[in-house]
Symmetry: D2
Subunit: 153 residues, 4 copies
């Protein structure tokens, strides 16, 4: 039985599109980041039910790192994106992801990735600070740093 | 006068599309990687004029890292992607990039990035080794590691 | 109770992506055709369970016509694409579509469209003839011509 | 020698992207409409140098019709889009297009198409009327109706 006190990665099923494949017949490496965007859009609605506070005022991607582990071909079954918080700082936070087969579909891990997000106030064109409430919401999804292979070479 | 012995980043002008912008009215963070793909496609035709050897047999992206520095809005003028080799290993190489305004258009740097590339033999589904000739071609474009800001936090 | 003898449009739920929106904050007109592509890919797997016969040997879009009826904004709920056969000829067929809200989500019609499809033999680079079996499969989905408004101006 | 009094189609060179190709290795049928969007964005800056009047207040695609004539594969050379006005009405206008090889690159016609455009006032959410000035600007680009093949079957 999972311990409620231990944060778990949040699981989002993200549908593929046939057009995610490129001329090599695999889901194009750039489209993986599109799948991660979809995962954030789907997941954040649940993480931040009071969305105006965190999202509608603006949240900006400051960086991505992604490592590809296996080729992915279009299929009607979605991929599962496991998503968790790897770091929280004054004006934003980092997300880790694993892109994998959903249970029952397969056992492949297609990619691991990390995204830096910064809260942004579009009106004043300046970063914003995370509210105490948002920090609280994020703490429910804290997890380990992403273990990239290339970092160890 | 630039010294011919000092490798220079390779400069590619990459046109934007209006559709690169997202609902926030900026070039979407994922599309930056599309611009880098374009830069590779354009640049590698020049770097490897004997393309069959290196490219047509297959080259696969193994990872990306990208750091966004300034928002970019669609304009008819292209962006300039400066591209260089940061690392060469037995079966592939890493590329560094700076996405910036072309001379005369502006002085912004929009992003810095790095891509890991692996040579792949689609027929045998296995990595291939870089030929001596390809290593020679790559050495003409060697440069410094990418200086990401987040790596220093 | 629907009469089994009367062909019904085939209903496919197609998920939206946040990135389908353009800088105007609406699903971009070009992306509607991407949604139709998705609907065909999803629907044809059911229409032609013996896919190799019809699809895997090649099917090519020869034309599209689409009329936009209402602006569409990203939401987590999919759109419903109703899809039916408007015309069958020796080497292909035409599809009609309505893009609408699924029942319970809303009552908007976002677009009506028609696509011409031609069976193609990639090996010989020539059109192929529909088999008797494929004609039979298509007849289960026959419907009325698409009623475009602009055709009457 | 072309007679200055006879309106000529407006020619725009539109660059391809490698990612315009789909898993069949051809520029995907949906991406042709993306190329037409690019052609409008590039061309309208010249057609309407006083852009705020016509474009910045909003212009909406009401319909597309496109007929594919030949497969197109990515190449570094752009395609040429010839663009002209086929119809002007109170609140909008129709554009015709031919997508072809630029002179010196080839002689293929890849597609012919037509787009209906409606002027729209985003502030009031209602169509706007073309100004006398915009009608004058459009008259410089009037041409024949698009000759679709399928319309004659």
């Amino acid at each position: 039985m999972p311990d409620a006190a231990v944060p778990q990665p949040y699981r989002v099923e993200v549908p593929l599109r046939w057009s995610d494949m490129d001329a090599y017949g695999h889901v194009n490496n750039v489209q993986y980041l599109r799948l991660l965007e979809d995962a954030r859009v789907i997941g954040f609605r649940v993480w931040f039910p009071d969305r105006p506070t965190l999202l509608d005022e603006g949240i900006v991607v400051s960086r991505h790192a992604i490592e590809y582990r296996a080729p992915l071909t279009y299929r009607p079954e979605p991929v599962e994106v496991d998503m968790w918080v790897t770091h929280v700082h004054g004006a934003g936070f980092d997300l880790g992801y694993t892109v994998r087969d959903p249970e029952g579909v397969g056992e492949h891990v297609y990619a691991v990735a990390e995204t830096g997000l910064v809260l942004y106030d579009f009106a004043t064109a300046r970063p914003r600070r995370l509210t105490a409430e948002a920090r609280e919401q994020l703490s429910a999804h804290r997890g380990e740093p992403v273990r990239f292979r290339w970092a160890n070479r």
